[in-house]
Symmetry: C2
Subunit: 148 residues, 2 copies
DNA sequence: TTAATTGATATCAATATAGTATCAGTTCAA
DNA sequence: TTGAACTGATACTATATTGATATCAATTAA
């Protein structure tokens, strides 16, 4: 069971790069090369993120992409929703004979509770948080540098 | 993002039926009909569950399937693992430049923490618990009967 | 003996995921 | 003012996963 698909995975990495270099345009090529993401595939993801107002772009030479939203306001739950659709545990698992009344179905509640827990966990982790974690981890490794 | 696939969904429903009728063999046909599960597809799932020691079978006329384990000891986490594979968030999301040291990678920890939360939630819900919830729900609807 | 069953497998269809290709339009800079 | 470096838009292909079907041998109860 794969929780994050390549799309989400790549999108997160692209956003991490954009989030680390605020105020400048990064090209799809640069991100693709640096993160080992298939170029055209990445292009599609970036366009999708523009549509969702996460980033902006600038055409032409020296163009590229830049974060639009505050990284702290981009939970990976949103990226999962964009690239993998809303988290849904099951349409309606227990039909007919097994479950007489949908309205007050306890099972359904159980399942939806889990759904919410999962969502809330993914909501807690934002691009901003990941960037800070990343900086901290790299800081520990080699002083205050961030080259490698 | 679909959390439960048809396989898991069907398997849970089959187990709920088996768990509601302890001590007798239920045929694949009966389960298939009652739960609207494609017959041969279900057969495959049942065989898989035999291999995992969740149920036993009896061949021949009047044969069928019966629970082997206590329903309270069948968490749906196990069914997810059997039919959808272990929950894995991502192989290694942040490679190369972004993440210098795998060993103490904070991001990795973050991701794995979510993984554990998800798993533990699915671990809490057992077939036994679902059956009790179900009975309670049906009980509310139409007295103490359990026909419909 | 035969109908009702499971065991074991092979195959197919549908869908989702991952990745590629192409061309038009925009912008910077030589 | 031209061309290289870019994005916008979209069509296409390949691969993997999921969902479903088909077949036939072996077993068992009536
Ligand atoms: S789970 Fe669908 S009505 Fe109860
Ligand atoms: S996430 Fe892979 S090493 Fe940090």
């Amino acid at each position: 069971m794969k929780v994050l698909t390549k799309k989400t995975d790549y999108a997160i990495r692209a956003l991490l790069m954009l989030g680390s270099k605020r105020g400048v345009y990064l090209s799809a090529k640069a991100i693709s090369t640096e993160q080992d993401i298939p170029y055209q595939f990445l292009r599609g993801l970036l366009q999708e993120m523009i549509r969702h107002d996460l980033i902006i772009s600038k055409e032409g030479a020296q163009g590229g992409f830049m974060l639009k939203k505050d990284p702290d306001e981009i939970p990976i739950a949103q990226l999962i929703e964009i690239f993998q659709g809303k988290v849904q545990v099951s349409e309606c698992m227990f039909r007919k004979q097994l479950c007489a009344n949908r309205a007050r179905c306890v099972l359904r509640h159980e399942i939806m509770r889990i759904e919410q827990v999962v969502n809330s966990e993914f909501d807690k982790v934002t691009i901003g948080k990941l960037i800070r974690d990343l900086d901290a981890a790299n800081g520990m490794t080699h002083g205050s540098g961030e080259t490698a």
